[in-house]
Symmetry: C2
């Protein structure tokens, strides 16, 4: 905690008995411009720098045009553990490529959110990942600021013209779950959506994957096996009981794929209230693979969003854009394949 003046490059140069220019070049290895530093000189400079605990002043390097190695991440202030899991994955990926993460939050107040993005831009942070809820109302000022970042990646859907986007193939995930359930001998696999697919594209993706899985492309046969709520989240007890009535009691389902893990867990409770055994009488599959999934009783079979691939794709897109690589419309979107995680509930 001692207060001391940080050593400067000129201090190192002086002690090493070389010019500032040579010290600068020696510390970053190789040769720059017309300056070529011999091995023994370079080694000496580095030794002195180490002994003095020299750390280059990044503000000065920045001012001279050093490329910025910080990625900004904007996450919703109301974010749940699921988003932080994704954040951690991005940290790992960014770290591996020599990048740091600075986090910001979308606050309810657009002015505050704008303040954050302005702050990033002021720092010269040109790369931003937005954990932006696709259903969140978008403020024009915020959108304008986002459009000014050099590299921008959204999750699920891009909200800015020309920006990149990483999405999870929800349809494939649900399809995999359905196929798995049928392969395990379930005869009537149902789908519980927390909102109507007609108005919520994330739900429509699940419906599409479901219909592909049960081999009913036009959805004629599956009508009684697809239930959708009104978007209320988390669902009330009445809504859950209603879903169980519709799908299991009346629809005869012996398996349910839920919109997410919370729905899955709540459906399991509702099934038990009806005296139904999980997974004996009805299997349940979630979506998200929450960290707590393994702790539930029964532990949750679920679709993992594959944060590792998500992070890799997001950082790939960011760095490609920063490099100035021109990306086609198709290249700007990356789709990550989720993976079924089998536990006890199905």
């Amino acid at each position: 905690m001692m207060q001391f003046r940080a050593p400067r490059l000129s201090d190192v140069a002086e002690r090493a008995g070389v010019s500032i220019a040579v010290a600068s070049v020696a510390l970053r290895g190789g040769s720059r411009g017309t300056i070529r530093v011999g091995d023994k000189t370079a080694e000496k400079v580095r030794r002195v720098a180490r002994r003095m605990q020299f750390r280059p002043n990044m503000a000065a390097q920045m001012l001279k045009g050093r490329k910025h190695d910080v990625i900004g991440v904007m996450i919703g202030a109301e974010s749940t553990a699921a988003n932080y899991g994704r954040l951690a994955a991005i940290e790992r990926e960014a770290y591996g490529r020599g990048y740091r993460l600075m986090i910001g939050q979308f606050h309810n107040d657009a002015a505050h959110t704008a303040g954050y993005i302005n702050d990033f831009l002021s720092r010269g942070i040109g790369a931003l990942v937005c954990f932006h809820n696709p259903l969140m109302p978008s403020n024009p000022e915020v959108m304008d600021l986002l459009a000014q970042t050099r590299a921008l990646v959204f999750q699920t859907v891009s909200l800015v013209q020309g920006a990149c986007c990483v999405d999870v193939d929800r349809a494939a995930g649900v399809r995999e779950a359905v196929t798995y359930l049928l392969g395990r001998g379930r005869r009537r696999v149902a789908l519980a959506l927390n909102a109507a697919p007609e108005t919520d594209s994330l739900m429509e993706d699940r419906r599409r994957g479901y219909l592909a899985g049960v081999g009913d492309p036009d959805g004629e046969r599956s009508r009684s096996l697809i239930w959708s709520g009104t978007g209320e989240f988390p669902p009330s007890r009445e809504v859950l009981d209603g879903a169980v009535d519709a799908l299991v009691v009346r629809g005869g389902a012996d398996a349910i794929v839920a919109s997410n893990d919370i729905w899955a867990v709540d459906l399991i409770k509702a099934l038990r209230r009806r005296g139904l055994d999980v997974p004996g009488e009805v299997a349940v599959v979630g979506f998200d693979n929450l960290e707590a999934g393994a702790l539930f009783d029964p532990s949750l079979t679920t679709i993992d969003q594959n944060n590792v691939d998500f992070a890799r794709a997001a950082v790939d897109l960011l760095l490609a854009t920063l490099d100035g690589k021109p990306l086609s419309r198709a290249e700007r979107t990356r789709v990550v394949q989720p993976k079924l995680v089998v536990r006890e509930s199905a």
Copy 2:
């Protein structure tokens, strides 16, 4: 995504028809040094700056001695949702005080961890919060670097001479849980520790709170109601069954306070395996208040670590230290009061 040259202060000054010095002062309000800017002039400069979307270059401001408004947070690479919840709380608190967060991770490799801290220091980030596992082996190089940060806050226990620390009053939390259980008519409240209190001070804290709660200061009467594991985490089925045998079957407990939520959930499963109803025959209380706590069946009564107060205390200490305020030994440690969250399991 347009590539453009960011406007500089001199551009703003030129367009507004004032000197650079006046522009600089006008944008930051009031008057600095000998320069005093009139209201109408200041307003004009600000208007021009806004129209040009001027954003001061922070690297340049930094170089001129602007105080840094970034707090670094080091978290374990193996961090769970619990730590990220705390991180989010710190973000909120820091944001409210005009500070940003940059996150780094402790990696297994000490060299990598050192790289991160060096990076923070190089950026001039003098404030660091360390989510450092108190049982994690401490590398001398890492410790040395940590000691060089101007303001340093650890969780649970400080690992650096003179650094600050925010701790949660585990004893008070457990005591509150015990008191609550006794007040609800439980007669034999037990304590399940995942490691021996003799070797793990975090467990000893719980034991102390427990003994205070049951009014058995020297622990004579409670011997059969305290069980401790060998530190294995998460616990195996055999270990859990053993704990239930010891505390409930042989010890006659009708309530158990667990070391954390995961243990609590696993104990509930073990109790059920023995045919015991929770909370009917045995009540169970956790510790941590995991986000998923409300989803378990029965939902978990638990001790919340109070991240809001934790974050406030951590940022308080950081900013006080940055201000150069001399803190006494006592002032350097802040203890946060946890809160019992009552749900169904007890």
